[in-house]
C-alpha cells in the first residue's frame, strides 16, 4: 500500500436530457450514444489497473451522471472498483440534477459506495429555472432532496447560480433561505459567466439578455457570504461554502495542487507536472479509446515557473490562503523571494493580506481575484 500513489479521479459523463442555456461544458443531448460511450469509458478506466493508484477522491461529474440508468451506473461503478484501489475513507461524489433522480436510483447510488451527492438546483424560482433552460422545478428538487436524505446521504451539496437574467438580489436571498431550510452540508454559489457557444451568449449578442447590474450581482455575492457564514457555513473557497469538515475534498485536490486524472470525453488531468486532456468530441473520444486505448488530445509540460504561478493562484482561491510552508516544501524556495514585488504591490492595493503562515485574499481581493492571480503569472 505504501508504494501506491494517491490521486484524485474524475469521471466525465457528457450527457444531459437537455443542455442548459448557460452551459458550455462538454455535454451532449444524444443519449442514444450512451452505451457506446460507457463502453469506451470503462475501457479507459480498466487501463488504470496496471498503475496501482490509490484513489482518495472520486468525482463523477457531467453533464448529468444521473441520466444513466441504474444498470449503467451499476456496471460503471463495478468496473471502477475492479480496476482501481479506492481508499476506504475516500470521498465519492456524483452530480445529480433534479428530474433525473428517483428513490430507487438514490438507494442504488448509496449501495454502490457513493457518499456525496451534488445537486444542481441553481435557483428557487421556477421562472428563473425556465430562463436557464433547466428541466426541473423547485418542487422536484425538494422531493429529491428528501429522498436523498431518506436513502442515507449525509453529505449533500447544492449548486446555486447568481447574477442570472431577471434575478433580483431579493430572489437570490430567498433562494439561499430556502436552501438553508434543507440544511445541506455544502453550498456552491457560482457567479454566472456568459460563455461563447451558449444560448445566453447568443441572446447577449442580440441584446436580449438583461443581466443584473454589477452592483446587484456583487450584492448577491456579498449577501451569500453574510447569510451562509451567519448560518455556520465556512466560506472556504471563492464560490464554496460548507459546514465544518464538509469541504469538497475532490475540488480541494485542484486547489491544493495535488495530482488528478480525468477520464471521459474532454476530461482534464494533472499528473507528473503535465496537464493533458481528452478529446471533447464524443465520436473522437470513443474512436480514440477503441483504437489506441487513449484519447489524449493534448499534453502540456508545465515549467517550474508556471507551476509556481498555478500553485499560487489555485491556492489563493481558498480563503485559508496560500501556505508559505507548502510553497517552500514544493519548490524549495521562499515564496517571498519569488514574488516579492507582486506581493508588495498587491498588499499595497489592499487585495492581499499576510500573516506568519499564509497569504490570502482580502474582502476586496475576493471581488478582484483575477487581478491578484495575474500578478503571479510568469
Amino acid at each position: 500500500m505504501k508504494s501506491m500513489k494517491t490521486i484524485g479521479l474524475y469521471l466525465h459523463i457528457p450527457f444531459c436530457i437537455k443542455k442548459c442555456n448557460y452551459c458550455d461544458f462538454t455535454s451532449y443531448e444524444s443519449l442514444e450514444q450512451v452505451p457506446e460511450y460507457l463502453a469506451a469509458l470503462k475501457k479507459e478506466i480498466s487501463n488504470l489497473e496496471k498503475h496501482k493508484f490509490s484513489v482518495n477522491t472520486l468525482y463523477i461529474g457531467g453533464g448529468t451522471p444521473t441520466v444513466l440508468s441504474e444498470n449503467q451506473l451499476f456496471s460503471l461503478l463495478n468496473v471502477l472498483h475492479k480496476s482501481i484501489h479506492i481508499a476506504k475513507e475516500a470521498e465519492i461524489s456524483i452530480e445529480a440534477n433534479p428530474g433525473t433522480l428517483t428513490r430507487e436510483k438514490l438507494c442504488l447510488l448509496k449501495k454502490l459506495g457513493i457518499n456525496r451527492l451534488s445537486i444542481g438546483l441553481q435557483a428557487c424560482q421556477n421562472s428563473l429555472l425556465q430562463t436557464m433552460g433547466r428541466i426541473h422545478t423547485v418542487e422536484e428538487f425538494e422531493s429529491n432532496f428528501e429522498a436523498a436524505r431518506d436513502a442515507g446521504f449525509d453529505n449533500i451539496n447544492v449548486d446555486l447560480i447568481f447574477g442570472l437574467p431577471g434575478q433580483s438580489p431579493e430572489d437570490f436571498e430567498k433562494t439561499l433561505t430556502h436552501v438553508l431550510s434543507f440544511s445541506p452540508e455544502h453550498i456552491s454559489c457560482y457567479a454566472l459567466s456568459v460563455e461563447e457557444g451558449t444560448k445566453f451568449y447568443e441572446w447577449q449578442k442580440e441584446g436580449r439578455l438583461v443581466l443584473p447590474s454589477d452592483d446587484e450581482e456583487r450584492k448577491m455575492y456579498h449577501k451569500a457570504i453574510e447569510i451562509l457564514t451567519h448560518e455556520g457555513y465556512e466560506h472556504y473557497e471563492i464560490s464554496n461554502f460548507s459546514l465544518p469538515g464538509r469541504e469538497c475534498r475532490h475540488n480541494l485536490t485542484y486547489w491544493t495542487y495535488e495530482e488528478y486524472l480525468g477520464l471521459g470525453a474532454g476530461a482534464h488531468s494533472f499528473f507528473d507536472n503535465k496537464r493533458f486532456y481528452n478529446h471533447p468530441g464524443l465520436s473522437e473520444y470513443i474512436e480514440s479509446i477503441n483504437m489506441s486505448s487513449s484519447a489524449i488530445a493534448n499534453i502540456e509540460l508545465i515549467s517550474e515557473k508556471e507551476q509556481q504561478a498555478e500553485f499560487c493562484f489555485m491556492a489563493l482561491r481558498l480563503l485559508k490562503g496560500l501556505s508559505k510552508d507548502a510553497f517552500k516544501r514544493r519548490f524549495n524556495r521562499e515564496i517571498t523571494q519569488v514574488y516579492e514585488s507582486a506581493i508588495d504591490k498587491l498588499k499595497k492595493q489592499g487585495l492581499l493580506q499576510e500573516n506568519s503562515e499564509y497569504f490570502r485574499l482580502t474582502a476586496p481581493g475576493l471581488d478582484f481575484a483575477n487581478a491578484v492571480f495575474m500578478e503571479f503569472l510568469p
Binding site: L192, Y221, Y254, A267, E310, F313, D367, N370, L377
Partner: protein
C-alpha cells in the same frame, strides 16, 4: 555633353495632387528614350512607397533627357520635380528658381486647385515661362475649354494654345516636348564667372554622404575642386559630380545652365541646405543667389515609443531620417506619463504625418504622439520673451503679460455651393475673411487670415468633410498676432497627465476640455476604483467625467480541473494590462493619447 547652353531647357511641372504630374513625367522619359518602357517602374519620380501610395511627391528629384526636336537638333531637357504640398512651399520655390520654364498641368475635369495656383504665382515671381497643359482629356467628364477659361480667368495667362494631353494614353507628349524647346528660354549665366550653383534639393547616400542637387547658375564645377557653402562658409572638396540619367551618372564637369549633383564627403544634409549657394572656395562669388532661407520647423509634437524599450530604436531611426531631411528637428524630452521620447519639429502637418508613417513603416516602431503645437511667443510680466512649442513649458498664467501666435493667410478654392459651410468653418477656426473672389459661376476663392494652430488641429479634415473633398487649401505664414491662449490640462484622479496638455484659445478651451473628457471616458477602461477625468485651466476645473469603478474581476469556477483555460484568460488580461500606461494608479490605454489629437 556636347550640347551647348542654347539648347538646354530647364523646366518643372506644376500640378495638383492626382492631376497627372507623375504620369506625364513618365511619358516624357519614355518618349525621349531616357528610360525604356520595360525597365520603367511606374512613376520613376516618386521613389518612396509612401509617396506612391498617397499620390504625392514629397521631395524634389531631377532627371535629364535628350530630345531631338523637329528642327533636327538635340536638346538637353532637365526636368526638376517639385513637391506638391503646402508644407514644402519653400522647397518648391527653390526648385522653381532652378528653372526657366514650367508646365502648368491642369486636370481637364477638375480645373485649377489652390495649391496649383500658389505654385503658379511662385513660378511667375521667378519669371518662368509657363506652358499650360490640359491633361486627362480622355476622361468622359473632361471639359478642356472650361479648364482653359479657368487658367485665363484665375491666373491671367493666355491658354488658347494650351496643349491637350492624356498622359495616361500617351496623347500630346510630343507637342509638350516641342513646346518646351520652343517656348522655354535657354538658361542664362556665364561659365567664365565665379561659380554660383543653387542647391534645390539634397539627399543622403551611405557611400557618397550628403549629395546636393544643383543648378549651375554661373561658372563651372569639377571633381577635386574646393567649394564653399555660402550660408555657412564651410568648405569641402568635390569628390564626384554628375547628372541624373535618371540614375546618378558621374561626369567630368558641370557648367552654367546645367543641372546635376555634387558630392563632397559631406557628412550631413544640414550642410547641403536647400536654397544655399555653392561657390568656389578659392575664387568665391561676391554675392550668394537670392532667396535662401533656413528651414524652420513650424509644428512640434512629442513622439514616444509605445514600448519604453524602443527608445534607442526611435532615436536611431530619427537620426537616420534626419540624415536625408534637414528640416526634421528632434531633441530628447521626457514625460511623466509617457517616459522618454523626443520633441520633434516639422515644416507642417503633412511633413509630420510622413515622418510618423515612415518611422512606423520603415522602422517598425509603434509610436504615441502628443498633440501638435505651433510656436507661441510669450512675453512675461518681467519683460522677457520666450518661445513655447511645448505645453510643459507654458508659464504660470500670473507671469504672462501677453501671448502671440503665428497667423497664416489661407486660400481656399471651392465649388460655390459649399461657401456657406466653409465660411462657417473658418469662423469657428477664428478666421477673419479678407476677400472672396469668384473664379466663374461655379467656383470661388476664399481668403482668410487665421491662426496656424487652427489649421494644424483639424482644418484639412473638416474642409474635406464639409465639401466632400472638393475644396483645396493653401496657406502662407503672415506673422504673429496677439491671442488669448491658455493651457488646458487633463487630470486623472487629480494628477495632471503632461502628455495630454495642450495650448488652446480661451474661447475654445471649455468645449475642447469637455469633448476630451468625454472621449477619455470612452477609452479608459473601468478599474478597481473610480477614475475622475478632469479638464482644467490653471487651477480651475472646467469639465469632469467619471469612469465608474469596476465591481469585480473574478472567475467563479474552473470546471473539471481545466486550469489551462483559466490561465489563458489571466494571461490575456495581463497582456492587455501591459499595453497600458500607468499614470498614478490609473491604467491608460494608448488610444487615450490619440483622443486629444483629433475630435469628431
Amino acid at each position: 555633353m556636347s550640347i551647348p547652353r542654347e539648347r538646354i531647357r530647364n523646366f518643372c511641372i506644376i500640378a495638383h495632387i492626382d492631376h497627372g504630374k507623375s504620369t506625364l513625367a513618365d511619358r516624357l522619359l519614355e518618349y525621349t528614350g531616357t528610360i525604356s518602357n520595360r525597365k520603367m517602374e511606374e512613376q520613376v519620380l516618386d521613389k518612396m512607397d509612401l509617396e506612391k501610395e498617397r499620390g504625392i511627391t514629397i521631395k524634389a528629384k531631377a532627371v535629364r533627357m535628350i530630345y531631338r526636336a523637329d528642327d533636327g537638333y538635340d536638346y538637353l531637357l532637365n526636368l526638376i520635380d517639385t513637391p506638391g504640398h503646402v508644407d514644402f512651399s519653400y522647397e518648391v520655390s527653390r526648385s522653381l528658381a532652378a528653372c526657366e520654364g514650367a508646365l502648368l498641368v491642369v486636370d481637364a475635369s477638375q480645373g485649377i486647385e489652390a495649391q496649383t495656383l500658389a505654385n503658379t504665382y511662385l513660378a511667375l515671381e521667378n519669371n518662368l515661362e509657363i506652358i499650360p497643359v490640359i491633361n486627362k482629356i480622355d476622361l468622359a467628364s473632361a471639359d478642356p475649354e472650361e479648364a482653359k477659361r479657368e487658367i485665363e480667368e484665375i491666373i491671367g495667362l493666355d491658354a488658347q494654345n494650351a496643349i491637350l494631353t492624356s498622359a495616361k494614353e500617351g496623347q500630346g507628349i510630343k507637342e509638350v516636348l516641342e513646346a518646351i524647346v520652343k517656348l522655354v528660354p535657354p538658361p542664362e549665366g556665364s561659365s567664365d564667372k565665379p561659380l554660383r550653383s543653387l542647391i534645390f534639393d539634397s539627399m543622403y547616400d551611405s557611400y557618397k554622404g550628403a549629395v546636393a542637387f544643383v543648378r549651375i547658375m554661373d561658372g563651372s564645377i569639377r571633381p577635386r575642386q574646393l567649394i564653399k557653402m555660402m550660408s555657412t562658409g564651410k568648405t569641402f572638396e568635390v569628390t564626384e559630380i554628375g547628372v541624373f540619367n535618371p540614375d546618378m551618372q558621374p561626369v567630368d564637369y558641370l557648367e552654367a545652365g546645367q543641372v546635376g549633383y555634387v558630392a563632397a564627403s559631406i557628412k550631413n544634409v544640414i550642410d547641403t541646405r536647400v536654397g544655399d549657394t555653392i561657390t568656389d572656395a578659392q575664387k568665391p562669388a561676391k554675392q550668394a543667389l537670392p532667396g535662401y532661407r533656413k528651414a524652420v520647423p513650424m509644428v512640434f509634437c512629442g513622439m514616444y515609443p509605445a514600448e519604453g524599450e524602443e527608445y534607442e530604436n526611435l532615436k536611431e531611426a530619427l537620426g537616420k531620417l534626419q540624415l536625408s531631411d534637414a528640416s526634421l528637428f528632434f531633441e530628447p524630452e521626457s514625460s511623466a506619463a509617457l517616459g522618454f521620447g523626443f520633441r520633434c519639429g516639422f515644416l507642417g502637418l503633412l511633413h509630420m504625418d510622413v515622418v510618423q508613417e515612415r518611422l512606423e513603416r520603415e522602422y517598425n516602431l509603434n509610436l504615441i504622439t502628443t498633440a501638435p503645437s505651433v510656436i507661441y511667443k510669450i512675453t512675461k510680466t518681467d519683460g522677457s520673451t520666450i518661445d513655447v512649442d511645448n505645453p510643459t513649458n507654458f508659464p504660470n498664467p500670473a507671469e504672462i503679460e501677453c501671448i502671440e501666435e503665428p497667423y497664416v493667410e489661407a486660400s481656399i478654392m471651392l465649388p460655390t455651393e459649399y461657401v456657406g459651410p466653409v465660411m462657417e468653418l473658418c469662423q469657428e477656426k477664428r478666421g477673419s475673411m479678407k476677400n472672396m473672389e469668384y473664379i466663374n459661376e461655379r467656383r470661388v476663392i476664399l481668403r482668410y487670415e487665421m491662426p496656424l494652430s487652427e489649421i494644424i488641429y483639424d482644418l484639412f479634415d473638416q474642409l474635406k468633410s464639409r465639401t466632400r473633398g472638393y475644396a483645396s487649401l493653401d496657406y502662407e505664414l503672415i506673422g504673429y498676432r496677439k491671442s488669448d491662449m491658455v493651457k488646458l490640462d487633463i487630470l486623472l484622479n487629480g494628477e495632471v497627465v503632461d502628455a495630454l496638455s495642450f495650448i488652446v484659445h480661451k474661447d475654445k478651451a471649455y468645449s475642447r476640455g469637455r469633448q476630451i473628457a468625454e472621449k477619455l471616458k470612452e477609452v479608459i477602461p473601468r478599474q478597481m476604483f473610480e477614475v475622475a477625468i478632469q479638464a482644467a485651466i490653471g487651477g480651475k476645473i472646467i469639465a469632469r467625467e467619471t469612469v465608474r469603478a469596476l465591481r469585480k474581476n473574478v472567475l467563479a469556477k474552473c470546471y473539471g480541473g481545466d486550469i489551462t483555460r483559466k490561465k489563458k484568460l489571466l494571461e490575456k488580461q495581463k497582456e492587455g494590462k501591459k499595453r497600458m500606461r500607468q499614470i498614478g494608479s490609473v491604467q491608460v490605454p494608448q488610444e487615450a493619447f490619440m483622443a486629444v489629437l483629433k475630435m469628431e
